[in-house]
Symmetry: C2
Amino acid sequence: MSAVPTIAAIDWGTTRLRVWLLDAGGAVVDERRSDEGLLTAQHKGFATVLDRHLRDMAAPENLPAIVCGMAGARQGWVEAPYVEVPASLGDILGSAVSVPGVGRDIRIVPGLAQRNPRAPDVMRGEETQLAGITKLIGSGSHLVCMPGTHSKWVIAEGGAIQGFGTWPTGEMFSVLSQHSILRHSIGDKPAAVSPDSQVFRDWCQEALFDGDIGARLFSIRAAGLLSGLGQDDAAAALSGLLIGAEVASAIRRFARREAPVVLVVSGALGALYAEAMRLDGIAVTIADADEAVLAGLVAAARRNGMLAEGMVK
Amino acid sequence: MSAVPTIAAIDWGTTRLRVWLLDAGGAVVDERRSDEGLLTAQHKGFATVLDRHLRDMAAPENLPAIVCGMAGARQGWVEAPYVEVPASLGDILGSAVSVPGVGRDIRIVPGLAQRNPRAPDVMRGEETQLAGITKLIGSGSHLVCMPGTHSKWVIAEGGAIQGFGTWPTGEMFSVLSQHSILRHSIGDKPAAVSPDSQVFRDWCQEALFDGDIGARLFSIRAAGLLSGLGQDDAAAALSGLLIGAEVASAIRRFARREAPVVLVVSGALGALYAEAMRLDGIAVTIADADEAVLAGLVAAARRNGMLAEGMVK
């Protein structure tokens, strides 16, 4: 470690945990990742898990911490009640909830709820990523795409979250490829899907046309029986179909903005979504999701007086 | 048994087997059902399974048999190669394949293949149901809906199958309710979904609007978190969403005919599809799927000279 930390920043998701130690300026002095997400922490205890990681990182015993993600769910550590949209990013971060009875100052950023009876929805964690890209969405009108197990699409206007939707594309890929008849087409170990795959592109293009998943799923199986579509190509077809349908559906629901779609994503998934957008003629601005959540946690710490305002990271 | 059988008629699906003994006029003299479908018969041997059932039914040793369904698949008993659409129902039945080396005359009705590269598709078993409803679809232009694990929608014109599509609605319900995050919403033992459920109707109506599944799945989970949607209602919502999306998608793909949609279905599922059609203002004519497959097997036996033509059942 090169400096004494001022605060710990924690992204506590369903299946993973990330911990950063930050100095007074918000710069990273140490970090670690673990698979002790919500499901594990419910078992071991949230305080126990976090204390051990901070001790292993030689952090001071009373180091404050700012937390986002599923730790704030009802079944998490301490419930941080949903903030209802529309809501400004500042108000969202300002609604962080304190964890009582622990030896340090811990605040958990709340998730967002959309109580529209025709499109009820919730998020936890992505609101902090959004707070980390205010340079991109802090003014004007933007459509933000945050791909993942449960992809979120968000309308941001003038620094406020107006509305959002969830497309469980990653989960559908996983569940359908493992548990439906498509498991015979895809097999146990399909290769990672590449955005250069013509099969990915063809199926994505078809789905972009009308967003229809149900009409096309079984055709992946039939293409295997009739024309020998292989296992890796079957996985590429399913990925293209689901991502193309997501993009078509989200664009239909939220309409296209004048500004490019802001694509917040890390790793290989970003290239697949960028390719789907390219095929649909959609301009994108890409932001790294890992950097966004860290910047959002820094913003949350500042908004809650845990880090000095105005210091530039 | 009230009469000596002339032939056995067999519907051999993936998970179940049905055997009827028919007299010379095609009337049923005995019947039984078993769960020894394709998956079991691959293990025990198709001839072994069938011989035992026929023996238990006291059928003559050399009784001929007409078979439809997955027994004719490549991984089945003897492959009955797909007939390509467009194809007349008579030609389909006439392409039945003999099983060699068994002590009786056994013919297997082929399935259908659609080699359209934009919509490859296959069916096995439903072609025989279609051959059993020629009174309804033998002339004129008809759209046929055959709900199930893998629902089929079929265009029939002048007694020929012009094209078809598969919507894996039953399988999606099963896989998503058991393996996705919706398992937390639906639980282990949801009540059977009723067409009178207002939740079923509301979600069906929404999905009928645009056929979009991906945009709405997660809202079932969110409705549980935000407004206390219960487990039975969550199951009704998923059922309504998937069936409504199927109907919207199929009607969009095949357009509506002047004649009512012919709904070929047995049991409780029929009422859900009939309700979805009613909500969409679609007139339907209902045919019983069990009766249709039996009538189709009788027609296949006649077409292959195993039962006298012209004798009315």
